[in-house]
């Protein structure tokens, strides 16, 4: 057949893409369970980090069993438990729903005999999604620890939310004021926020990401108010 002809070229291209597509589909299906497990382990590491438990991919599953295990549940907007496995709730889909229709996963962790409530949060940064976990003391209002992650915030600016100096500020802040009104945690410009029990210092040069964190906390934590005020 004429190797430069249209028919040959067309058949050649078709066969090539079918072969490549089949190969890639096969590889993707074969590796999916292992990749899924990696993502779950990374999630467990994140959850544990919010209660200041450091773990590595090797011991994360073990430590998760030790500190949290099956002690997690899903809440609805009214603060009542609903059926389901909290760990498998896809927060990315939930935050797109109106607050009243969302599922609210909650993890309970026991450290040194005291109970911590771990709340997953998810929102928008400057370039892409940001997420995190906030842990509350058993008074259900004081933050014990916080951890944040991001898909692609600017290194050195917005990406600083994933670093310890920013996250450490949250420890000891409260999300309710003395009258029991929900305040969330504000992410404000200026050092004076260190005295405010409901605010942390924003990241210079990372204004939009900082505002994203504030909006994310307001949006996600407010759904738990009915449960936390019980």
């Amino acid at each position: 057949m004429d190797r430069q002809g249209n028919t040959y070229t067309f058949i050649y291209a078709s066969v090539l893409v079918v072969v490549v597509a089949a190969l890639l589909a096969f590889v993707s299906q074969t590796l999916k369970p292992i990749q899924q497990k990696n993502i779950e382990v990374a999630k467990k590491i994140d959850i544990l980090k919010s209660v200041n438990v450091a773990s590595t991919p090797k011991d994360a599953v073990e430590k998760y069993e030790e500190y949290i295990g099956n002690n997690s549940f899903i809440l609805n907007y009214e603060g009542k438990k609903v059926e389901g496995d909290a760990f498998t709730v896809n927060l990315e889909k939930e935050v797109k729903k109106p607050p009243k229709d969302r599922l609210y996963p909650m993890y309970i962790c026991t450290i040194d005999g005291s109970k911590k409530f771990i709340i997953p949060v998810r929102g928008k940064g400057l370039w892409g999604p940001i997420w995190g976990y906030i842990s509350l003391n058993d008074d259900k209002k004081t933050i014990f620890g916080a951890t944040f992650g991001h898909k692609g915030e600017t290194p050195g600016l917005g990406a600083e939310i994933a670093k310890a100096p920013f996250q450490k500020q949250f420890s000891g802040k409260t999300i309710f004021d003395d009258n029991g009104k929900f305040t969330s945690v504000l992410v404000e410009k200026g050092q004076n926020s260190s005295g405010n029990p409901h605010a942390v210092d924003a990241i210079s040069g990372g204004t939009i990401t900082s505002k994203g964190v504030q909006a994310m906390l307001q949006d996600c934590l407010s759904g738990y108010v009915n449960f936390l005020k019980e």
Partner: protein, 220 residues
């Protein structure tokens, strides 16, 4: 390969591997693949994984294109090359996500961008389309290694001077600057971690290489 009378590792074939390490180096002499050389060299581990990934892609794409070279219709040869390279890159990305998840997070978008690495398309066009599979594989190994060796050198200096550590795959982080240095007031140079210093490090490597090899200096 059987019709090919010369031995597998003849002097001419060996030169395919050694030339890209020195006088034909893809990064320092041909100045290809610079972006990823700057982006993934803040630590040694991602640099090593990136080098291996690029080497895998360039070797196999060279091999496959060389096997197909007499069948590829000229009019769509670039598309065929792209499909082959893209498939290999996705393969690498999937394997990293399954078996080296943390490194794949560090490399993030740069694994996908291997496809735009000029070294790969450059070798396909310049070599694999006109040569036999075995020579193409050797050429791939040579160019992959030539790229990798520069990445590793840059990453070594950036990590040691910038973080005071060496991070190796499967070994972990080793602290190479003794604590006593810090006690005396030594500080890690944070600038080394930032992208501009990668460019300057490449520049220094090019300078050293040219100073030692006069053939590389263009005559006026």
């Amino acid at each position: 390969m059987s019709e090919d009378k010369e031995p597998l590792f003849s002097a001419k074939n060996l030169k395919l591997i050694t030339a890209p390490l020195g006088a034909q180096n893809p990064i320092t002499v041909q100045v290809l693949g610079i972006c990823s050389a700057l982006a993934v060299t803040a630590k040694l581990e991602p640099a090593i994984v990136m080098s291996i990934s690029v080497m895998f892609v360039v070797v196999f794409s060279n091999f496959i294109i060389s096997l197909l070279r007499n069948t590829i219709p000229t009019r769509i040869r670039i598309i065929v090359q792209l499909v082959v390279v893209a498939a290999l890159v996705i393969l690498v990305d999937q394997i990293l996500k399954a078996y080296a998840y943390e490194v794949s997070l560090q490399l993030s978008v740069f694994v996908g961008l291997i496809i735009t690495n000029c070294i790969i398309m450059g070798r396909l066009e310049a070599f694999a389309l006109a040569n036999k599979p075995w020579q193409s594989v050797l050429d791939g190994i040579g160019n992959g290694a030539g790229y990798g060796i520069i990445l590793v050198i840059i990453a070594f200096f950036r990590e040691v001077l910038g973080s005071g550590t060496i991070t190796l795959p499967a070994v972990g982080t080793l602290h190479v600057i003794p604590q006593i240095f810090y006690d005396w007031g030594y500080q890690n140079n944070g600038l080394m971690i930032l992208p501009p210093m990668a460019l300057i490090t490449v520049g220094i490597i090019i300078w050293v290489q040219r100073a030692r090899n006069n053939d590389l200096i263009e005559t006026k």
